[in-house]
Symmetry: C2
Subunit: 423 residues, 2 copies
């Protein structure tokens, strides 16, 4: 056999699920993100360069000296009990009380999304997401072929009045769940207002529908008052997804699900067939890191760094982007969401930007129906401040140049169809 | 909400896939395996207690001192290039030549099975497994609802004449793949003879069917001559699954797939939605551990320890099991497969054994149709020699007592239905 197959002779063997998945923009961009000559606003990478090396080394030394047999062996599918207790402490920091028997440790929160999709979705089932929504959630949901209803966001989070209308439309199918990212939304950067939270929970209860609450960034608040997770108000209707990726490090792949006991039991069986268990070494590392209070210590530093990078990005946007553009002002997290004039297509601008050594994710990646073409997601947690200023300046030039081109051709008067979301 | 739900109010929300999965015997037994008062022959745990602590510590120190930013960050979905090169060296030890672009790093080989199942199987598709077969493979295949055809094993591996008959039966559907564990089979302990390998490859080529070759134990040979992997003869029809779990340690969850480029590309997209990427920290640890030659060094020791434990188990079986029982004599790996008189049901004996502090896995777990009730899988890699002698003696007593009971009731003359496999 020749290793260089261009034509794919295995096509006829693939499952229907495979055909539903498209290689996502994120994966393609990941390779660009890794290039040191590119200023990347594309990934959702935390800044791990700020982790104190001596903390990491001493935590690892403890794990290796005290628990080597356990660290290198298989462990229970649902995760180490010692780690679960620490994850409960992390949730408590945001006002969410939990019990170990309701926690399942997952291989990053992406696995949580994948397992929840497989647990609940049959082909054709309806689910609800925000529009825009996390591209990784769409990637997890798509292979099980749901019908995805998108409810737009604004600066106060999911527009619950539209959600209610959608759910109460005569003949509307009851969704299996409503997926939301309430804090420092990915990609939109916005945080769900407390009234919207109450309304969302009211709707969930009235219609007996589950809410999947994905909260990777909740502890990364720089300013303003934090709101307790949805799950703290209703553990029966809310399944909570957490991760250490943004508050400790993604390289250890530790996420978790908090859910009612029967759901945890089912998820655990699914996880067993997915990867048997998550890495014991990484779980023990996480446990010891959390036990020593290093996470909270580092969060103080991270918030400061991220706030400062956000401020640089906001200032640069103000300075270099055209007045027709607008963007969200996140109070925490790692993303800013930019809306360009409606006639622009950010996906078309991406090659130009990369050619000039700047990367971002086009808005269309975040909508199940591919709308949002005039938007872009910018990450500010990973690049250093001087690279942020430089990169936004370049991006501003790319945008202005594209606008000039459209104007000169008279294409700026055309409107594209598709749903509009004010965020 | 009350956290103690006995009745499951979420039942109506679960997908059909969820209903196809039963909580496996292995998961239930894992909790028993962990109890130090139990001599467990149940798990498939390698002996990690023999890993030299100074090797592990110095490898980890290197990773942390040289690559901290990379180790704690996300990495490419398909795995670190540096690790892939080391995995290629590992495959070369068994005579399998490969290239990095045909390798996908997975979160243990269990994830490889899960992704391959999702890539190839639509509900109702036919696949072929050996009978018995790896319970974790069944767990990965079941949620996508294939029709599983079981081809029996004997001491020379899969019975290719029966496979051929099955495939050439008029109207028989072409299977999506044939799943085999050629070396030191789990659970049967047998190794596929070179004539059977040739015949299997002939059948795969004639019918243009894929073979999934799962080879976790190939490097754990104590005696006899090793045979090159099936994939070394036909890279077009064979997808190879490897893992470091049994030759380095399972706690780092590093497995891989070797497959044609278009298959790797599809699997990578599936993996992205499953867990984004495998742990960078673990991959860098594995790479450095392999680079220093610690794996091969430790393999020399492991083979000696396992051979000795196997010998103790074989001698104990000879001494304490009734003459009506027989078992396989593995030349490597970690399992012995015991066949008891046909009227016995090993699942019924398990509680008695656990009551006497000994655990095993009942044979029925390894057959898709639940046959194999008179068989048991015994693991010899994990328990120490003195515990093996003691545990097999106790198990022998449990078996004899059960036989006496059946004889006294005249039940030993009854035959149970179901397919028979001579292994």
């Amino acid at each position: 056999m020749s290793p260089e197959i261009v034509f794919d002779p295995y096509t006829k063997l693939y499952s229907e699920a495979t055909e539903l998945i498209r290689s996502s923009d994120i994966r393609d961009l990941m390779s660009v993100t890794g290039r040191s000559d590119i200023v990347s606003f594309a990934g959702g990478l935390p800044f791990v360069g700020g982790l104190p090396p001596e903390d990491l080394s001493s935590v690892m030394a403890s794990v290796l000296s005290l628990g080597m047999d356990e660290a290198f062996q298989y462990c229970e599918t649902d995760g180490l009990e010692t780690l679960k207790s620490r994850l409960i402490e992390i949730m408590a920091l945001e006002g969410l009380e939990a019990e170990p028997e309701h926690v399942l440790v997952t291989t990053g929160s992406q696995q949580a999304l994948d397992l929840l999709a497989r647990l609940f979705i049959d082909p054709g089932d309806t689910i609800v997401t925000e529009g825009p929504t996390y591209v990784g959630a769409l990637a997890a949901f798509r292979p099980v072929a749901p019908r995805i209803v998108t409810v737009p966001l604004d600066d106060l989070g999911i527009r619950t009045s539209i959600l209610r209308e959608e759910m109460e439309r005569p003949g509307a199918p009851v969704p299996k769940f409503i997926y939301v990212v309430p804090n420092f939304h990915n990609p939109a950067g916005v945080t769900m207002h407390h009234r919207r939270r109450r309304e969302l929970l009211d709707i969930a209860r009235e219609h007996d529908v589950l809410v999947l609450e994905d909260n990777p960034y909740g502890l990364l608040r720089f300013e303003g008052e934090s709101l307790p997770p949805l799950a703290s108000h209703d553990r029966h209707h809310v399944i909570y997804i957490g991760t250490l990726s943004k508050i400790v490090a993604p390289g250890i792949r530790v996420g978790w699900v908090l859910a009612p006991a029967p759901v945890i039991d089912r998820l655990s069986t699914l996880k067993q067939s997915a990867d048997l268990c998550s890495s014991s070494l990484n779980q023990m590392f996480a446990e010891e890191y959390l036990r020593r209070g290093f996470c909270e210590k580092n969060l103080v530093k991270l918030r400061e760094i991220y706030r400062s990078r956000r401020d640089v990005m906001l200032k640069s946007l103000e300075k270099h982007f055209p007045p027709e553009a607008h963007w969200t002002i996140p109070q925490g997290g790692i993303f800013i969401w930019v809306t360009l004039p409606e006639y622009l297509d950010s996906a078309k601008m991406l090659p130009m930007a990369i050619d000039r050594k700047v990367a971002f994710v086009p808005g269309s990646a975040f909508y199940p129906d591919g709308s949002g073409a005039n938007r872009i997601r910018l990450n500010f947690s990973f690049p250093h401040e001087d690279r942020i200023s430089w990169g936004i300046e370049v991006l501003g030039e790319v945008v202005r140049k594209e606008m000039d081109l459209y104007r000169s051709l008279g294409l700026d008067k055309q409107r594209r169809g598709g749903p509009e979301s004010p965020a």
